[in-house]
């Protein structure tokens, strides 16, 4: 791999480069691309370190400090992946989402514009077109973004707001900054604290025999390495555009555009869960699976919310989770394949093997620590 590099990226700065997606981008940029330097800006730079990258601690909502760092590093391209974990429905969680996703992104844009960065790639989310209630069949970039009262997930609302800022900042005179936004769906892999962690928790709690809905609902899950790859492809193409005196034709344009990114391999929701459990050591088939209908799941979700509301604890199961695991939500990524020339580098199965393998390793390390 090391001998065949995919292209030149110059100096790359990954915001959130110590996070789940961010550190995969840092690693891939260093292993598969020609970069003069790779840096990360993160709230805390203690985990997911790559020896060949430089690390800078900074809260991105601190615009002054961020600009200072950018002026020092002078990156050609900034890849902005930083975002809080998308869970929690409390006032504090909402405030955090708005502050980091919208305020932080605004600060990143301004810092890029003020320090002469050529290209900004933003990590949005495929959930910005979902209202978590209605199914999405083969949705592409023409689908409307769900905003305001229709958007029941405040996290998605803030991601959509930030994406809008990023796209507006494309070629915003007098700055020459080029921007693009990627919308990955259901990211999983090594270092994942949501998708795989959730399925593995269900497995550890012996919930793997329960199935909500009839499992005809198709869903997109995307291996994090593929998402990282798409970001670097977009960065490369933005830099190429920046180097060219002409604005590209609309059908091959990357700047000012939005792209869905998936594994191009939607699957039935519970089949993905079973493949994860299988990788974690399950030897169960599908006989004896307890199927709870979609309607019943939603009623149970409501009951659980009411119950935990009474005892004043965050609910372990909610209507939203019941709906998300029984709804159809998959995307058509023809645009990314055509314009970014994106093709997934890892299949779903390879992604699961890597991701679950990482979890198993971490557990072994934890156990070793405990026994010491």
């Amino acid at each position: 791999m090391a001998s065949e590099k995919r292209g030149d990226l110059g100096s790359v700065l990954v915001i959130g480069g110590n996070g789940f997606l961010g550190h995969h981008i840092v690693n891939q940029a260093l292993s598969s691309w020609n970069c003069s330097a790779v840096a990360s800006v993160d709230l805390r730079c203690t985990r997911n370190i790559n020896d060949r990258a430089s690390y800078h601690e900074c809260d991105i909502t601190d615009a002054a400090k961020l600009t200072e760092i950018l002026n020092k590093i002078k990156p050609d391209v900034v890849i902005h992946t930083a975002s809080p974990v998308a869970s929690g429905d409390s006032k504090t969680a909402h405030d955090l989402f708005r502050k980091v996703n919208v305020g932080g992104t605004q600060a990143v844009i301004e810092a890029c514009q003020n320090s002469g960065v050529k290209a900004l790639v933003y990590t949005s989310s495929a959930s910005v077109i979902s209202d978590n209630e209605n199914d999405l069949y083969n949705a592409d970039e023409d689908w409307p973004v769900i905003r305001g009262a229709q958007q029941k997930e405040y996290y998605s609302e803030t991601k959509a707001a930030a994406e809008e800022l990023v796209i507006k900042a494309n070629r915003q005179e007098p700055s020459k900054l080029l921007t693009t936004s990627l919308r990955p769906a259901g990211i999983f892999g090594e270092g994942d604290v949501q998708t795989l962690a959730g399925f593995l928790r269900a497995y550890d709690n012996n919930k793997s025999h329960v199935q909500l809905g009839d499992n005809t609902n198709i869903f997109d899950f995307t291996y994090v390495g593929n998402v990282a790859h798409a970001h670097l492809l977009a960065a490369r193409l933005l830099l190429a555009t920046a180097a060219s005196p002409m604005i590209p034709l609309s059908h091959e344009r990357v700047d000012g555009e939005i792209f869905f990114v998936t594994n191009d391999s939607p699957v039935y929701f519970w089949d993905f869960a079973r493949a994860v459990w299988r990788a974690a050591g399950s030897d169960k088939g599908t006989e004896g699976v307890w199927e709870i209908s979609r309607g019943m799941s939603i009623v149970l979700g409501a009951a659980s919310e009411a119950f935990f509301g009474l005892i004043g604890k965050p609910p372990t199961f909610t209507r939203l989770r019941a709906m998300v695991s029984t709804m159809t939500r998959y995307y058509n990524i023809s645009k990314a394949k055509r314009v970014l020339r994106y093709e997934p580098l890892w299949t779903l199965q390879e992604g699961i093997d890597r991701g679950v393998g990482w979890f198993m390793e971490e557990r072994k390390k934890d156990e070793a620590k405990k026994s010491q």
Binding site: E133, L136, Y137, N138, A139, D140, D142, W143, P144, I146, R147, G148, A149, Q150, N215, T216, I218, S265, P266, V267, Y268, D271, F272, R274, A275, W277, R278, S282, D283, K284, G285, T286, G295, I298, V299, A302, Y330, N332, T347, L348, Q349, I352
Partner: protein, 465 residues
């Protein structure tokens, strides 16, 4: 299958009755206008083909005779190829020269021992009729005969493959190309030449190829047991060696799990052609042409579903039931959308049977979902323009809960309320409460409070009563 089976499966019986009673052929042959030799050709068609004779005879009159004769020429080649009593030194030149033979008036062959030998014994009838064809159709048949004859001769001489079986997936697909892909090529050229299909299909040979591959691979998967008994082996080693060490192990009950997983692997490989096949069939411009190509394809996906995770495939020849076959024929003689629903239904059945312990579990699931996704691109159920309009309309409205959610919430609240009321009234009654005065008291309360609204004295006044 007896009457009892259909008593247990009335839906299948219904499909059979429906097909027999209501299926109206798009076109019918008219034997009165046919020459004696042509009638003889149709007799051979009925004799040699169970599955294709009916659909061929319903074809548009423009192609009825060309396709029939094309089929008979290929059947003639096939009979020579399959006949193990003909020595290789005779067989190979016969196969390679068959495109010349089909020009020789009065040619007959009497040395075959195959069950379809009668066709070769009276092959002069076919030759007579071939000469009456329009030139473009005749040329296509001749060209395809040349290609197929040479392909078959190559395989007949390939002792390495006959002894050791097919090795790689590439070899496997090349074999399928010679026995089915070329037939598909010939048919596409006839369909395009007669304008019964979109001429664009001529520019997309990979679609035609997939049509043949899908049918041939399905046959190979299904016939594993029969071929094993006859000493033939078409499953490529590249696939089966992932599951068992020796070919014979597939038929050893000890390795049943591995054998079933090997079949899954083969089914997964065959399913990769489905999107191309659906796309190809979208190019048909004539109902009879559509039926002609759609019925075998729909039967193939149903057969794959039948073979998938079915250990019986290793022990005997499995077949779709007559009821299912009639149901499929009903649905594949209408339009592409109905046909797509057949494909979706069988894809979902395969997905439902899929086992998480199968090494290809997730790949199979993804393949089935991919078929559904492709059908979605042909017949999208969501229109982004309409969705955008709706979203804009909603944006201006008051945020409300959806009606179904509201109904559920109201239902839950009411149910809880009624249960609790019942319980409390019950307990009160059990403890000796009297309800006979309740209503009059309540009435009094309301009338008095209404009389002097806002005055606290009225309430204290009541307490004093």
């Amino acid at each position: 299958m007896g009457a009892i089976y259909y008593l247990m499966h009335p839906r299948e019986l219904r499909s059979i009755v429906q097909w027999k009673l209501w299926h109206e052929p798009v076109n019918r042959r008219d034997p009165k206008t046919e020459s004696a030799t042509l009638q003889e050709c149709f007799r051979f068609l009925n004799m040699t083909s169970r599955s294709f004779s009916a659909v061929i005879q319903e074809l548009n009159h423009e192609l009825l005779v060309p396709v029939t004769l094309f089929y008979l020429v290929l059947r003639g080649l096939d009979t020579i190829e399959d006949d193990m009593t003909i020595p290789l030194s005779t067989k190979v030149p016969m196969l390679r020269e068959f495109h010349v033979t089909m020009d020789q008036d009065g040619w007959q062959y009497h040395d075959s021992k195959e069950k379809d030998r009668e066709l070769l014994e009276h092959f002069d009838c076919v030759i007579t009729e071939l000469k009456k064809l329009k030139k473009p159709y005749y040329d296509i048949i001749k060209d395809m005969t040349f290609k197929m004859g040479n392909g078959m001769a190559d395989y007949a001489q390939n002792t390495e493959m006959i002894q050791n079986g097919v090795q790689t997936i590439e070899e496997y697909e090349l074999y399928c190309h010679y026995v089915a892909g070329l037939v598909g090529e010939g048919l596409t050229r006839l369909l395009v030449a007669s304008n019964l299909a979109n001429p664009k299909l001529g520019e997309r040979p990979e679609l035609t190829e997939s049509m043949g591959q899908f049918l041939q691979k399905t046959n190979i998967i299904r016939d594993i047991h029969e071929d094993w008994e006859d000493g033939r082996r078409w499953y490529p080693k590249e696939i089966w060696s992932k599951h068992v060490e020796r070919w014979e192990d597939l038929f050893d009950p000890k390795y049943r799990t591995q054998a079933v997983e090997c079949i899954s692997d083969m089914v997964l490989d065959a399913l990769k052609h489905v999107e191309d096949c659906l796309f190809y069939m979208a190019g048909m411009r004539d109902q009879s042409a559509f039926n002609f190509v759609a019925i075998p394809q729909a039967m193939a996906i149903a057969t794959l579903e039948l073979c998938f995770r079915n250990p019986a495939v290793l022990e005997r020849n499995v077949k779709i039931t007559k009821g299912d076959a009639c149901q499929i024929m009903l649905e594949s003689t209408q339009n592409l959308q109905v046909l797509c629903e057949v494909f979706r239904r069988y894809a979902r059945r395969i997905q439902k049977k899929n086992d998480p312990r199968d090494p290809n579990f997730l790949a199979i699931s993804a393949r089935c979902a991919k078929i559904e996704q492709f059908i979605e691109t042909l017949f999208p159920r969501q229109d982004p323009k309409k969705l955008s309009q709706e979203a804009r309309a909603k944006q201006t409205q008051e945020p409300t809960m959806s009606t179904s959610e509201t109904a559920i919430m109201i239902g839950v609240v009411l149910a809880v309320l009624l249960t609790m009321t019942g319980l409390m009234v019950g307990i009160a009654w059990f403890m000796g409460a009297r309800f006979d005065n309740t209503f009059s008291d309540t009435a009094k309360l309301f009338s008095s409070s209404a009389g002097s609204a806002g005055s606290p004295t009225s309430i204290t006044g009541r307490d004093e009563l």
